[in-house]
């Protein structure tokens, strides 16, 4: 506490230089952490966790982005107003993603009703075989879905 006051009085005019923080040693540790997390992401992508893969990738990416934001962008030492602005941005991004997911998850048929994806390429003049994928059984009759 006393050190901080002393530093503040010593520097006086150039007040924003008064907080001695960061430093090469800390930044190097952050860089190493970021590189290790990158290696973990690439390594984890080699396994099949189903839906878990995307979650793992995004969680690791968010940890990395937080490290960059907090230390490289100085948010941890800065005046809180900058962090408030940054958090507001991510909050609105979260709202955006949440409502898009709500919309997406409540559609019963995401594929337009006049399109039926088939598994194999169709030769001209051939009737499609019965290997229809990814449509729900009621897709032919359903009136929902995208009108485009």
């Amino acid at each position: 506490m006393s050190t901080q006051t002393q530093t503040a009085t010593t520097h006086g005019a150039n007040a924003h230089a008064k907080h001695e923080h960061g430093g090469t040693a800390l930044y190097t540790k952050i860089l190493i952490a970021l590189l290790i997390l990158t290696a973990i992401t690439v390594f984890a992508a080699g396994f099949d966790f189903g839906q878990g893969n995307v979650v793992i990738a995004l969680v690791i990416a968010t940890i990395k982005a937080s490290l960059v934001g907090l230390f490289f962008m100085h948010l941890v030492w800065d005046k809180p107003v900058n962090a408030v602005i940054a958090m507001a941005g991510f909050l609105f991004l979260g709202i955006f993603i949440m409502f898009c997911l709500l919309d997406f998850n409540t559609r019963n048929n995401f594929i337009p009703q006049n399109m039926t994806p088939t598994l194999v390429p169709l030769a001209p003049g051939t009737a499609p075989a019965g290997n229809v994928i990814r449509t729900n059984p009621a897709a032919g009759q359903a009136e929902g879905g995208e009108k485009k």
């Binding site: 970021l34 690439v42 990738a57 982005a65 960059v68 955006f96 594929i111 039926t116 499609p128 032919g140």
Partner: protein, 252 residues
């Protein structure tokens, strides 16, 4: 004599400390001036987050719509090139923060060195991107209607169902525009990595300008706002790539 008194009057509020040539008269202190610039930069960064956020949401939607095509299309991206670019950008962020640190302490030589290293890393990133893009151009992995690759396992263009029940269900519906999951993947790929690449390019230009000014010795511990703000921009560009890399190169 009269000049001195006018001068004293104009800068009366800063009589107690030396006048900094970068100090603009509408700010009370240099610290206030610095904080104001920084808040402005953060507001700009938020608009960037929302710009890329919209593209990420669109990518997620299309991935849910064309899961097989997206997983197959992503195998055309070279994973080690993406990983290399991630490492290069992380290192450039590191050198950038060291440049800001040097500027804050007023060490000119280190500041110039680390700014130059950051620019070098940015150029390496763009060179790797150039090789990635030119390979994709050769193979025809291009966005939307320019997509011309022939080796996909699913039909390039989804056929309208010719089944009798489908024809009976919608006899008058006009055919939907032909859509292609592979081309959609590459539309998003080129849009997002391209926009990110433009940000890298703009970053190189601004970094060069800051480097020239740093070399002239314009920055000191009392005024290093441009270095700090370009640093914030550069870290955001890095942050966007941190999300782009796993979503494009590593999806299953």
């Amino acid at each position: 004599m009269s000049t001195t008194s006018v001068d004293l009057h104009a800068h009366g509020h800063e009589a107690e400390h030396a006048h900094d040539p970068h100090h603009q008269h509408h700010f009370t202190t240099m610290e206030q001036q610095f904080d104001t610039s920084k808040i402005g930069m953060w507001l700009f960064l938020v608009t960037e987050v929302l710009l890329f956020g919209g593209l990420f949401v669109g990518f997620g939607m299309m991935q849910a719509r064309y899961p097989r095509e997206f997983v197959e299309a992503h195998t055309h991206l070279v994973r080690w090139q993406g990983a290399l670019n991630t490492v290069v950008l992380l290192i450039s962020s590191y050198t950038m923060v060291l440049a800001v640190n040097a500027a804050k302490k007023g060490i000119k030589s280190k500041q110039v060195l680390f700014l130059a290293l950051t620019i070098v890393c940015a150029c390496i990133f763009l060179v790797v991107k150039y090789f990635e893009y030119s390979h994709k151009f050769e193979e025809g992995w291009l966005p939307a209607k320019y997509y011309s690759y022939k080796g996909d396992s699913l039909p390039a263009c989804m056929e309208k169902s010719a089944g009798p029940e489908a024809a009976a269900a919608a006899p008058t519906t006009p055919p939907a525009p032909c859509t292609n999951g592979y081309a959609t993947f590459f539309s998003f790929y080129f849009m997002m990595t391209g926009l990110h690449g433009i940000h890298i390019l703009v970053g190189i230009i601004i970094l060069t300008w800051v480097l020239i000014r740093a070399n002239r010795g314009e920055f000191s511990s009392s005024y290093y706002t441009p270095v700090d703000l370009v640093g914030l921009y550069w870290h955001l560009v890095d942050m966007i790539w941190i999300y782009l890399f796993p979503l494009y190169y590593l999806i299953q």
